[in-house]
């Protein structure tokens, strides 16, 4: 081979070597790209595994506040960012407050909540947002080069927290900020943690409720023992005393404590129904003004005893006929006005104002305000005013009485009626409670319904000569009390100690012999409902006409309904009120 040919061959081989080398280097680039992809996949797997680990850690915490350091740490460890933070949105102060952070070298922990940022965040629709390089408020005032964040909304779609990950300017060269890779991972992480916050929140609320319940029963025990102590103590004093004045004073105290106890039990029953979700409103059509007037009459008596001035102001309101629960409206207003009387000194002023907030063709929204010139409420107590058994201090109960349940019940009832109750007070000057309720207007011409169970104020002479009443109760003292209530009426009283004996007596009696039967429900041998049902199904000529009134300590709606279903004609709750017993008899006698 000639030298030229050799040189040519060498050149050809060199060219081929260069070509092959180029191919090798290109293949190495491709191989490295594949390794990079493999690395990314491995990293992602590792990161999801870390998210799982952090979720498990987060699950194990008991309080929301303990979650935030874990979440912050996870942002760094799972997402592999330099810094992480949990930021609370404070609407009251229009700021963002850093409540947990790692590696974020900042002097400030509060950022002003700019409108533009807020708009963008609210529109994020549950997605993570990012900015790199950071130029916008509020992050621009920090040392951040890149930021990724996601808002956490509660069930009311209110943004409570923002989870943030980022890279500082000084570390920007070390960290890779690739939004396409970061966003899905960050969102998965945040969603996991959002879910856990919800769960922890729910557990925490359940624990608080359990704690509140325990505290409620502790308070209840105290509240029951106080009047019981008075009752038992006064009875012992009366038993040992021969001084009639002292005995009378003891009896008055027993009566007052007994009424307080009854009020407490009624309130507790209301609270119990509220907590069980069994509290229901009974909507009827009624005229507003008579209801308010009835309340005014009741409260006026209390106010008069303290020389207070009670005003009822109808501010542009006539007397609309509306659909609502007049009993519960009355209960709320009596509670608020009763409190006003209690906490207002003698010669003070109490005002009930009813104004129309708005009106449509079919509805009217009424605002009820109860103002007083009383002692007012301390600001620190205003926040917990509506919690059960919350009174500003124990001296309140001692000095003014009350169960501490009234406002909690009132708040619930107002909310059940679709309203919201608020309190505004200046300590030492007075308080105003207000609530607004939207009522449907009754535009029909029908007469308003009679709200059953309304207590009559009438208690005149009752002559029951020639009438016989059967009192059925297994407890002797109950029979004695009922008989005693009617001692002055010349009525003839017969007794039965259980349902079976009552049935026997009713069946044996000639037609029209009994004017009325007061029937207890829970009794041995045969209960009151069975006895009533047995008698109603009998061949007695009075089977369908003899009035049978339940007289029982079973006072829930379903208990009352059960007595009515059994065929009874009415219901009187124990402890029985003499007025109610006599009013009931009077109505029946008048009808017959």
């Amino acid at each position: 081979m000639s030298q030229d040919a050799k040189d040519l061959e060498i050149a050809r081989l060199n060219a081929e070597l260069e070509f092959l080398s180029d191919k090798v280097s290109r293949s190495e680039v491709i191989a490295q790209s594949l390794r990079d992809i493999q690395f990314q996949l491995n990293s992602s797997l590792g990161q999801f595994s870390r998210i799982h680990d952090y979720a498990q850690r987060a699950f194990s915490v008991k309080h929301e506040r303990d979650l935030f350091p874990i979440i912050t740490e996870g942002i760094i460890d799972c997402i592999q960012l330099e810094l992480g933070a949990v930021i609370r949105v404070d609407f009251a102060f229009q700021t963002l407050r850093v409540i947990s952070q790692i590696n974020w070298d900042i002097d400030i922990s509060n950022f002003a909540l700019s409108g533009e940022f807020w708009k963008t965040t609210q529109l994020s629709q549950g997605k993570a947002l990012w900015e790199s390089p950071v130029v916008s408020a509020p992050w621009a005032e920090t040392n951040l080069d890149s930021v990724i964040f996601m808002p956490f909304s509660n069930k009311n779609s209110t943004i409570n927290y923002i989870f943030l990950g980022g890279i500082s300017k000084e570390s920007a060269a070390i960290y890779a900020f690739n939004p396409q890779e970061l966003l899905p991972l960050f969102m998965v992480y945040c969603q996991q943690m959002f879910g856990i916050i919800d769960l922890v929140d729910a557990v925490s609320r359940a624990q608080q409720a359990a704690k509140a319940r325990a505290s409620f029963f502790a308070n209840l025990s105290h509240e029951i023992r106080t009047p019981m102590n008075a009752i038992i103590g006064m009875v012992q004093i009366a038993q040992r005393s021969s001084d009639q004045e002292e005995i009378d004073r003891c009896i008055d105290q027993v009566g007052m404590s007994g009424k307080h106890l009854l009020g407490l039990i009624n309130d507790v029953l209301d609270i119990s129904k509220i907590e069980d979700g069994k509290f229901k409103l009974n909507y009827i059509s009624f005229d507003l003004q008579p209801v308010i007037e009835s309340i005014r009459v009741t409260v006026e008596q209390l106010a008069a005893a303290k020389s207070q001035e009670l005003s009822v102001v109808y501010d542009g309101v006539e007397s609309p006929r509306i659909f609502g629960d007049d009993m519960r409206l009355t209960q709320v207003l009596l509670n608020l006005l009763g409190n006003a009387v209690k906490f207002t000194p003698e010669k003070g002023k109490i005002t009930l104002t009813i104004s129309e907030f708005s009106r449509t063709n079919t509805t009217t929204t009424l605002k009820f305000s109860v103002s007083d010139t009383g002692i007012g409420i301390m600001p620190e107590f205003l926040a917990r005013l509506f919690k059960p058994f919350e009174q500003a201090d124990s001296s309140i109960s001692r000095n003014f009485g009350g169960t501490g349940l009234g406002l909690a019940i009132s708040q619930f009832m107002v909310e059940l009626m679709g309203g919201k109750i608020t309190a505004d007070s200046t300590y030492g000057k007075g308080t105003t409670f207000s609530f607004t309720i939207c009522f449907d207007l009754d535009t029909s011409n029908a007469a308003p319904e009679d709200s059953s169970g309304a207590i009559s104020q009438e208690d005149g002479v009752l002559d029951l000569s020639g009438h016989t009443i059967l009192i059925v109760d297994d407890i002797k003292i109950n029979r004695i009390i009922a008989s005693s209530f009617l001692r002055d009426t010349n009525v003839s009283i017969e007794e039965a100690v259980n349902g079976a004996e009552a049935v026997e007596k009713m069946l044996a009696a000639p037609s029209g012999y009994y004017t009325l039967v007061f029937m207890d429900v829970h009794m041995p041998v045969m209960d009151g409902c069975t006895a009533t049902r047995t008698f109603r199904n009998s061949d007695s000529p009075d089977a369908l006409t003899l009035p049978i009134i339940a007289m029982t300590a079973s006072v829930f709606n379903e208990d009352i309904q059960e007595t009515l279903n059994a065929g009874m004609n009415g219901h009187i709750s124990k402890p029985v009120d003499i007025k109610i017993v006599r009013d009931t008899i009077r109505r029946i006698v008048q009808k017959t």
Binding site: L17, S25, V29, R35, F39, I102, N103
Partner: protein, 398 residues
């Protein structure tokens, strides 16, 4: 007699990471005669913050730290941004010495390394092996080793390596004497007469194609390859555009220098590798002294070779150790052999292979590793600087 204690953890909180490490490393309490604490950390931890945390836990114990792309310990490899590993040394004062130097660059590598080595020797003339940690960017490691050899003689083993970032070629940090630097170095000398040592480095790359010939050099800087701008020529050879960064080229840009035949046999490869961790315009910062006419080749990795050479290297070391007991293992790895080059399974396999080789009765000896830019290990009886390798030092007692 020197004793060693190690631990490694992953934790984003520097204080907690330090606390956990100390707890794991000293299950029976911290001895009173701890001479130094060496720590390696990935970039999510700031070395000075870690040092402050260690200071609280181990007051008055000198601290020496380095940044890396990953760390290893008895617990395995940690490649997140928040892994740390420690190795503490306790024992008599006369069996230990440590020193550091600031502002070491390519241009003054010999002088600064000489200063460091002389200070170390002044403290203890009986030192028989030295853990050396230098900055990973702009440094002439050949001159650094020459300086140490000039002071201690070639028979004293130098091991360790250079610090790094996470393969971006931007930072590398060192911590010593209560300060954190980017161009500093520290050396820890052991003078325990009962301790023997053996080092070995290995890689698994194969050179191909025509060499790049350095046609213009200045110390450890290469200005031109083949008469053209060094960086463009280098990047072009890797099928990369000239605007590429060192971060882009490190995974595939191992440059191979030919070894003398006697060394090639021991090394299991005809070439020793070099990494480029810095460039300025067309100028490449080479990790050892460059010279005009120097030939370097581009390389590809050979997975089989990586495993077989690793295996051969471990066989050599364990044979030397024989029935001796390993007191501690220091591992320095090239960051490109970490997560950027191997997947997790392969890497775990390599680490497991190494650790089981030095284990006795299933117990892994105290272990500290760093994935940095370069490694020091002996080759052919000479202290040598390597890149893209796994370098191991086992300290053992017969």
């Amino acid at each position: 007699m020197l004793e060693f204690y190690s631990a490694s953890v992953r934790s984003v909180n520097s204080e907690r990471a330090a606390g956990e490490c100390v707890e794991v490393a000293f299950p029976d309490g911290v001895p009173k005669d701890v001479r130094a604490l060496l720590f390696n950390a990935t970039l999510g931890h700031k070395l000075d913050k870690l040092a402050a945390a260690f200071n609280k836990l181990l007051p008055n114990v000198p601290l020496y730290g380095a940044s890396g792309c990953a760390v290893t310990g008895r617990e395995g490899i940690g490649e997140s941004m928040h892994d740390i590993g420690i190795m503490a040394v306790s024992g008599p004062e006369n069996e230990f010495a440590a020193s550091s130097v600031a502002d070491i660059y390519g241009i003054n590598s010999y002088e600064k390394a000489l200063e460091l080595a002389q200070d170390l020797k002044k403290q203890n003339g009986n030192i028989n092996c030295i853990y050396l940690l230098c900055s990973g960017i702009d440094i002439d490691n050949a001159l650094v080793l020459k300086a140490f050899d000039d002071v201690f003689g070639q028979e004293v083993t130098i091991f360790g390596g250079t610090s790094s970032d996470n393969m971006r070629g931007v930072f590398s940090y060192q911590y010593h004497g209560d300060t954190m630097g980017e161009h500093d170095a520290f050396a820890v000398g052991f003078a325990d007469p009962t301790l023997h040592n053996i080092t070995r480095a290995t890689h698994g790359f194969v050179a191909y194609g025509q060499p790049l010939i350095a046609t213009k050099t200045d110390g450890c800087k290469i200005l031109e390859f083949n008469g053209r701008g060094a960086w463009s020529e280098f990047a072009s050879r890797l099928s990369k555009p000239p605007e590429s960064t060192c971060g882009d080229t490190i995974p595939i840009g191992a440059l191979a220098e030919e070894l003398p035949e006697e060394h090639a046999n021991e090394y299991g490869n005809k070439h020793i590798l070099r990494v480029v961790t810095k460039r300025e315009g067309e100028t490449i910062y080479y990790p050892v002294t460059a010279y005009d006419g120097m030939k370097v080749w581009t390389t590809i990795r050979d997975e089989d070779l990586i495993f077989s050479e690793q295996s051969r290297s471990l066989e050599y070391m364990t044979a030397a150790i024989g029935s001796g007991k390993v007191a501690a293992v220091f591992q320095t790895d090239c960051l490109a052999r970490g997560r950027f080059l191997f997947n997790r399974i392969i890497k775990d396999e390599i680490i497991s292979m190494m650790q089981s080789a030095f284990s006795r009765d299933g117990e892994i000896p105290p272990w500290l590793g760093n994935y940095g830019f370069g490694e020091y290990a002996r080759l052919g009886g000479i202290n040598t600087f390597h890149n893209y390798s796994t370098a191991l030092l086992a300290l053992y007692r017969k």
